[in-house]
Structure formats: C-alpha cells, structure tokens
C-alpha cells in the first residue's frame, strides 16, 4: 500500500513514507513504534530475502526516540519524521566499514560519519535502519553477490532483484522499509525498480551529492531513492537536494522542490516513445508495458535517440576503464578476493587504451548535443527499463531477438544510453499480466525531474503504474 490508499488505521509497518510522516507528526503514532515494527519486519523477512547486510537497531531506536522527543518539546517534525529507510551498503554509515558489496572493503576503517544523503534524510526526520545488499562494487545488474549471497526478489525469491541496488529493491518491495537509497551508474536503480515493481528516481547527473559514497564510474555515478509511490520519491528527493562542496561533480544548483509540482498533471506535455534501439532486443511484454503507458498518456509520437546502441557501447568502454582505474591498487594486491565476475572485467578494463576512452567521452558530447536537441520538441521520452522480467537466480544467458547472449551485460541495454548523458529518469512499475512486474523509464530533460515525476504521478493516479507488496 502507499499513502494513496489510506488504511484507516495507524501505520506501523508497510505504510508509505508520507503516511508515516503524517501520523508521526500528528502524534497518532510514535516514531519509536514505527521503527520497532519495521525492525521486526526486517527480522522476519530478511532470512528469506537477504536484503539487509547490516541492521542497526540501537541506532535506529535512538534516532526514533530523538524524533519523538523533539515533537514532545514542541519542535516541528520534519517531512520524513519517523520514516524508516535503509541504504545500499556503498553509502558511508558511521561506525561501519563501507563494504560496497565487496570482501576487500570490509578491512577498511569504519566510516567516521554518514554519507551526505544519509545526513540529509535524517535531518528531515527519517530513521536509518541499516545497510543493504548489492552487487560487488556496483559493477552488476543482477543483485547477486558471491560474498553476501544474492538479494532475492520479494515477488518470487527464486528470481533476481536486479542490481546493483538489489537489497534496496528487495527491502522496499517487501515492505521492510518505504524508502531506500541506491546508486545508478548504468541502470542500478532503474533495473531493480523494474524487477521488483517499484518507482525509482535517477536524478540528473550532478544533482545529488555523492559525498560519502563509495564510487564506481565517476563519469556516470548517480544516487537516488526507490519507493512504492511517487509522493514518497518526491519527499525523499526534496530532502536530499542542495549543494555540497564535498562532491566535485555536483552542479551548483539551489534545491528545486518537486513536491509542489507533483499534482500538476501531464496536460500540455509533449510525450514520445523512444524508437529504434528501444523497440528491439527485448521480450514483447517489455514493449507492451511501454505501449500501455503511452496509451494512458495519449502519447502517439515516436522519437529516435540517434546512435543509442553506440552510446551504450561507449558507456561500456568508459565503465570498464574508469572502474579498473579506481580498483587498480586492489587488483594488484588482492585480485583473488574479488568476485570473479567483477575481477575479470576489471582486469580487462585496466588494459583499455586511453585513446578508446577519450573517444568514447568525445562521442558522449556528440550524443548529448543530439539528444538535447530532441528535447526542444519533446518534454518526456518513454522507454523500457529492462529487456526482460526478473531472471532466475544464477541465469547466465538471455534470448534476445533470436540470439542467445550473456545476461549480465545485456540487462542494461535500455538504461545505459540514458544514464550515459545523465538524463533524469523516473522508472515506473507496470504489471501487464499476472506475472512479474516490468519497468518503464520516464525520461526528462536535464534538471527537469519535476516533469518525470509529474508524469509518473499521472500514471500512478490512473492505476497504470503501481507497486504492491506481495502477501
């Protein structure tokens, strides 16, 4: 359920963030009671779903009591008062080594303080419950992890959550928490949002501070929230906006709150479906999901992102090279301690000629200019999030347009050409039948997260996009 489906009772668990924050602010329920219920739900479900790698009950309860005490003292409650949340374990959490899904990082010194976005969520009253499972060093689309075990999909635990923010997807989709933070370099928020049936926001590159998060590919790394509804996404996103001098890639922009814009609808917006690359290389139901969204919005236009397949190729080269450069010392010292699937890509990445990477970055400029020109005549572009539904855990290949291809790299076929140039995307969950969910990317021009969220909200209001917690 989410805040749009009032329960008629005091929320304790499985409620949306907005509903919880309202109840805590009004005194209908204490932040402590909400936190205790969420901790109990995590404890009950985590053995099966493996979403949390670190659970912090003492910290969470202390934070909840502080929220309750502030309210009792007459201080205004924050917009996320008492809302439990959790973060992919590449976010710094004070007192824990930031493992980023790896074995090697467990030997790091504990983080001295929380990541910037964790601090901002807590400043808005949210309660951190702990760290979440992820693919090693975020070089992953599956949510599998050889060190911690796979994140499991709440809608079918024999299937992948998607990754690399796999625990983020599992924790929100199962109702453990209403909000989780993830990272998205090539699709790592949008893929688990699709496989787990969630709303996910990948903001514009440079919008949210990455300070205090373990990096992967500096050129493409984004952070953002996953939730079961658009209002919750907007609440979290607004709480996290604002300049941070500690992130050198962040754009110097003042906060542009989206919550006041959320109900403005889609009338007058020019919405088109991405053609070409985005209509091939996927299962028919992925395109059926896009069709359903387009029909609901009355979108009949089709638009071609030029050279999208080449954009994906360029993103692939840059990712392998920058990732390898980041991990070079670890590859030298402890190559045997990596997940083999990560290590062998990084070793290859370390051998990439610099000129290839430079050309890929120059192509990125060309592609960016062409895509930005498209937005002169279009406000929103729709595309599938993934080429398939959640695959079975351990699945290694995928059938695409009659060809059997390796699964791992191809899950990102539709997300990579979008994050490559940092466009903001709200991924929305769509059920086209009784099977597992699918995702559709609602893509907006740079800095127009508000448009993506407004359209997602329309789809939610129409019942075309929705999340549901499995019983």
């Amino acid at each position: 359920m989410n805040d749009l489906e009032p329960t008629g009772m005091v929320p304790t668990d499985m409620a949306g963030a907005a509903e919880i924050a309202r109840a805590v602010a009004s005194g209908a329920v204490s932040a402590r009671a909400v936190t205790e219920a969420a901790l109990a739900r995590v404890t009950a479900l985590n053995t099966r779903l493996n979403a949390f790698t670190d659970l912090l009950p003492a910290r969470a309860l202390a934070a909840a009591e502080a929220v309750d005490a502030a309210r009792a003292a007459g201080r205004a409650s924050g917009p996320l008062a008492g809302v439990p949340f959790a973060v992919k374990n590449l976010f710094d959490i004070a007192g824990l080594p930031t493992r980023a899904g790896s074995l090697i990082n467990r030997g790091r010194a504990p983080a001295a303080r929380d990541a910037a976005l964790v601090r901002r969520m807590e400043a808005a009253g949210a309660i951190l419950l702990g760290g979440l499972n992820m693919g090693e060093y975020a070089y992953d689309f599956t949510g599998e992890n050889v060190h911690d075990g796979a994140s499991r999909n709440p809608h079918d635990p024999s299937r992948m959550t998607g990754g690399s923010s796999g625990g983020s997807g599992g924790a929100v989709a199962s109702g453990m928490v209403p909000l989780a933070l993830g990272s998205d370099t090539n699709g790592s928020i949008r893929v688990p949002a699709a496989f787990c049936g969630l709303f996910g926001l990948k903001p514009t590159y440079g919008r949210l501070s990455r300070a205090g998060s373990f990096p992967f590919v500096s050129s493409f790394d984004h952070l953002g929230p996953l939730a079961r509804g658009t209002r919750d996404l907007a609440l979290a996103y607004d709480a996290m906006q604002g300049p941070d001098p500690e992130d050198p890639a962040q754009a110097p922009r003042a906060p542009e709150p989206v919550l006041p814009e959320l109900e403005k609808g889609a009338d007058g917006l020019r919405i088109a479906v991405a053609g070409g690359h985005f209509l091939r290389n996927g299962d028919p139901e992925c395109f059926a999901a896009v069709d359903r969204v387009a029909r609901a919005l009355g979108a009949t236009a089709q638009i071609e992102l030029p050279e999208a397949a080449r954009a994906r190729a360029a993103a692939f080269v840059i990712t392998a090279s920058e990732g390898a450069a980041l991990h070079l010392d670890r590859l030298r010292a402890r190559p045997g301690d990596f997940d083999p699937a990560t290590r062998d890509r990084l070793i290859a990445g370390a051998a990439i000629p610099a000129a290839w990477v430079n050309r890929a970055q120059r192509f990125r400029r060309w592609y960016r200019d062409r895509v930005l020109a498209l937005f002169e005549g279009t406000d929103i572009i729709l595309a599938p999030s993934t080429p398939c539904r959640a695959p079975a855990l351990g699945q290694a290949s995928i059938l695409m347009d009659g060809a059997t291809l390796p699964l791992r790299p191809n899950i990102g076929v539709f997300t990579q050409p979008v994050s490559f140039i940092g466009l903001p995307v709200c991924a929305v969950p769509v059920w086209v039948d009784d099977g597992l969910p699918l995702g559709v990317q609602v893509i907006a021009p740079p800095w127009r997260e508000d448009l993506a969220l407004r359209v997602a909200r329309v789809l939610e209001r129409l019942g075309v996009a929705r999340s549901r917690i499995p019983s």
Partner: protein
C-alpha cells in the same frame, strides 16, 4: 572519416597484449582467469570499435557535466 580500423587480433595476440598489460600494471593474473579476461577484453574491443568507427570533429571535446 576515421581511418579503417585494423582487424581485431586473434586470441593469441590478444592474450599476449593482455599479459603484457597486466605486467605493466602489476596485476598478477592467475592462468585460470585468462580465458574470462580475454572474453571481457573482446567485448570491450567490440564496443570500442563501434565508437572508434564513428566520425567526430576534432573540436568535439568531452562535456561530462550538463550546463543549465
């Protein structure tokens, strides 16, 4: 237009390049890993060819951050 790209090297030549690169970078590569490293390098090289074969003006400089 870009000059014609050379054909991708065969496995022996690609492995020789990877072995030399690993030595240069100081990465100890277990012989059991070489096959998967080679497969990954072939995937990267294929992607790179798609990029390298695309004509770009000399003035096309990288623009990693959006301007408002």
């Amino acid at each position: 237009m870009p000059a014609d790209l050379p054909p991708l090297p065969d496995d022996a030549a690609m492995l020789a390049y990877l072995d030399a690169a690993a030595v240069l970078q100081g990465i100890p590569v277990d012989p059991a890993w070489r096959g998967d490293v080679l497969a990954n390098m072939r995937a990267v090289a294929g992607a790179a060819r798609a990029v390298l074969s695309f004509p770009l003006e000399d003035e096309a400089e990288p623009a990693p951050v959006f301007a408002a």
